[in-house]
């Protein structure tokens, strides 16, 4: 068996390309039906057989994307949330079906768009659309379809979109609050570096870091880093070179642990504040764990899984015996505004896509069962007036259910408080 070496080398390149592409490929689900997502027929496996059925779509990252460790529990929590709503009688004579239209988009905008096209005629609203660029890829279609969606992301642009019903402080305010907290509580001075994925997730947080740096007289630097634990050498080298007092990280958990562990192993002792998606309790088993315990703090939109509020308790009761994960917490909290909008639409004359869009724009409060204050769900008014700006700061705690415990309760820092939020912090492309 002999082949010319040039041919062998060519086969290496071709096959490597095929391998990479195989990692990006997905199977496609077949779309079906043409209903607008609301029916007088009972839902599949209906809790209330006499109720009609509202179908919600879910487009998530359930297998191989960077946020799958969070997205799976997010989706499970949303199933539990709507199951509980159904057990409580449903909404306006309808049960909510959030299980029939679940799609895995692998954190890929193209796949995300394809999955939406497959389900757009079958759903009343999106119970989850994960990712900023991913949601942006379907936003125009959502508008033309009168479909609202719950974003599994915290981009500041969502405050300016009627179709998007967000919860909690966005990445931009979260980063501001993280910097303000670090300045006040960790004595940060000098340089602050924002390390994040290129694009909207990293960019939104970096804009918040930059604003907070300016407000606190810190020098600001930005480092864009790609996904992949083996691709963080550049970010680590840059941190070690610039020796900032504070690093704000907006990546996935694997990248965050690689950066924190790698920098700390070479003597870096500065503070790291990660946005909420950077944490995964499994990291406590890694060699980075001591560094995480010492240097890492999480800025999050609400209290973690084990927090003592009626909403957290309802979530834990509904989920039963699961391994604690703050993906559950996020999925549960995000669902409250849609429930509130459905109730308002029903009260205003009946649930349709159009009435739901109208109701979603007119919310003055949402009952989050104390997981967030009711005013956090307000959508009626200008974003600068109603945007929720408070964040929780948590620290690593091995004894806590999800490995993090609250260090500072929901607080709006001075930068976020004073920020002129007349446009998104980072413009989505």
């Amino acid at each position: 068996m002999k082949l010319h070496p040039h041919a062998v080398r060519a086969s290496v390149v071709i096959a490597a390309t095929a391998l990479v592409l195989s990692g990006c490929r997905s199977s496609s689900d077949s779309g079906s039906g043409s209903s607008p997502g609301i029916s007088d027929e009972p839902c599949p496996q209906a809790v209330n057989k006499d109720n009609g059925c509202i179908s919600l779509g879910v487009i998530s990252d359930l297998t191989k994307g960077p946020f799958a460790p969070l997205a799976v529990p997010i989706t499970d929590a949303q199933k539990a949330f709507w199951k509980k709503v159904n057990e409580d009688g449903g909404v306006g004579g309808y049960d909510i079906d959030v299980t029939s239209n679940i799609a895995d988009a692998e954190y890929n905008p193209e796949i995300h768009n394809r999955k939406y096209q497959e389900m757009r005629k079958d759903i009343l609203a999106l119970g989850q659309t994960l990712g900023s660029s991913q949601t942006l890829a379907i936003l125009e279609d959502m508008k033309s379809d009168d479909v609202i969606g719950l974003p599994a992301s915290w981009n500041s642009a969502w405050e300016f979109e009627d179709q998007i019903l967000e919860s909690g402080a966005n990445y931009c305010f979260e980063a501001m609050n993280g910097v303000d907290w670090a300045v006040a509580k960790r004595g940060v001075k000098g340089t602050v570096v924002a390390v994040g994925y290129p694009g909207d997730y990293g960019g939104d947080a970096a804009a918040g870091v930059e604003a907070a740096a300016k407000a606190n007289n810190l020098k600001f630097e930005k480092i864009e880093t790609p996904a992949g634990q083996d691709n963080q050498a550049g970010a680590i080298a840059a941190i070690l070179k610039q020796k900032p007092a504070l690093v704000v990280v907006t990546t996935g958990p694997a990248e965050m642990a690689t950066i924190v562990g790698g920098a700390a192993s070479q003597g870096f002792t500065g503070t790291f504040v990660g946005s909420s998606p950077t944490w995964n309790p499994a990291l406590l088993k890694s060699p980075a764990a001591p560094a995480l315990e010492k240097l890492y703090f999480q800025a999050g939109p609400w209290g973690p899984f084990g927090t003592d509020t009626p909403g957290h308790q309802a979530m834990r009761d509904a989920l039963g015996d699961v391994t604690p994960n703050d993906g559950y917490t996020a999925g549960w909290v995000w669902s409250y505004p849609l429930l509130a909008a459905l109730k308002k639409a029903d009260a205003d004359g009946g649930i349709t896509r159009e009435s739901l869009v109208a109701a979603a724009k007119e919310l003055t409060e949402v009952d989050y069962e104390d997981m967030l204050p009711a005013e956090a769900g307000a959508t009626k008014g200008e974003p600068s007036e109603v945007a929720f700006r408070s964040s929780v700061i948590s620290k690593v705690d091995k004894t806590a259910p999800t490995g993090v415990a609250i260090e500072q309760e929901l607080t709006t820092g001075p930068t976020a408080e004073a920020y002129d939020f007349s446009k998104p912090c980072f413009s989505l492309q």
């Binding site: 082949l3 062998v8 490597a16 191989k64």
Partner: protein, 298 residues
Amino acid sequence: MTDFLQAIVNGFSQGSIYALLALGYVMIYKATRVISFAQPALMIVGGLFSYHFTSELGLPFWVGMALGIVCGAVVGMIVERLALRPMLGKPVFTLAIITIGVDIVLRIISNRYIGVQSRIIDYPNGSDRVSVGGVSISQQRIGLIAVTTVAVIALALFFRYSRTGLAMRATALDQETALAQGIRVGAVFALAWAIAGGLAAIAGTFVAAGNAGIEQTSWIIALKALPAIIIGGLDSVQGAVIGGLAVGIVEALTATFQPDVAPWLGANFSLVAPYALMFVVLLVRPYGLFGTKEVERV
């Protein structure tokens, strides 16, 4: 100077992973003239075996890794016997494509085990550091370099002094002549795959013992061993080691110095630096630094 030395140390340790994987590629290529694209999956499978033995069954790290290596080797042999042996005599391009299929199948199975969590092996005192003159390295990375060194030396001794190693070298030179001399070429193929599986398992174990563990996307790490084998030479064991280390070191040096020295190359140029090195080497030495120059009679 400290930055330079630190980058060398970082690159050397990361390059050890690439070197182990590159050795696996070369082992299979030397024996069968086939580039195995199943190495990424073998790395993940081996790492998951080690993870299971250590983190799930509670065995000590070194015992778990030893068992993981054995299991990785067995998986390599099974792949050779079931997927490659029946295709013996077919064009090597066909066999290479089959290895892609094997890679996908193994990764799908592995992904079911991995699920959505990181699979992280607790390396004993893995985060403890050793510092010399301002240059530091973690215990986990020292372990990786030590194990890689032992593996490379053991392989060299095996090829130099054992009869089986001699048989593998003979088969690599000329399969038909080796067959005529009574060498069981099929067994040599199986052994090459077993060694490749074992080496990939070592790499996978240390990926799992790293800061982020093994995730469903971790297999991409193994693709960086491809420029390593092109740089070192497709059929050279020492070339695989040097190529792997070169990739790691070039990556680390570029990450440390390129933003200052050549910022016009853009952010994260370190990711493509190994491929740039590969093209430079190919221009100067088309068969790689240590590859055998093929002479064909016309």
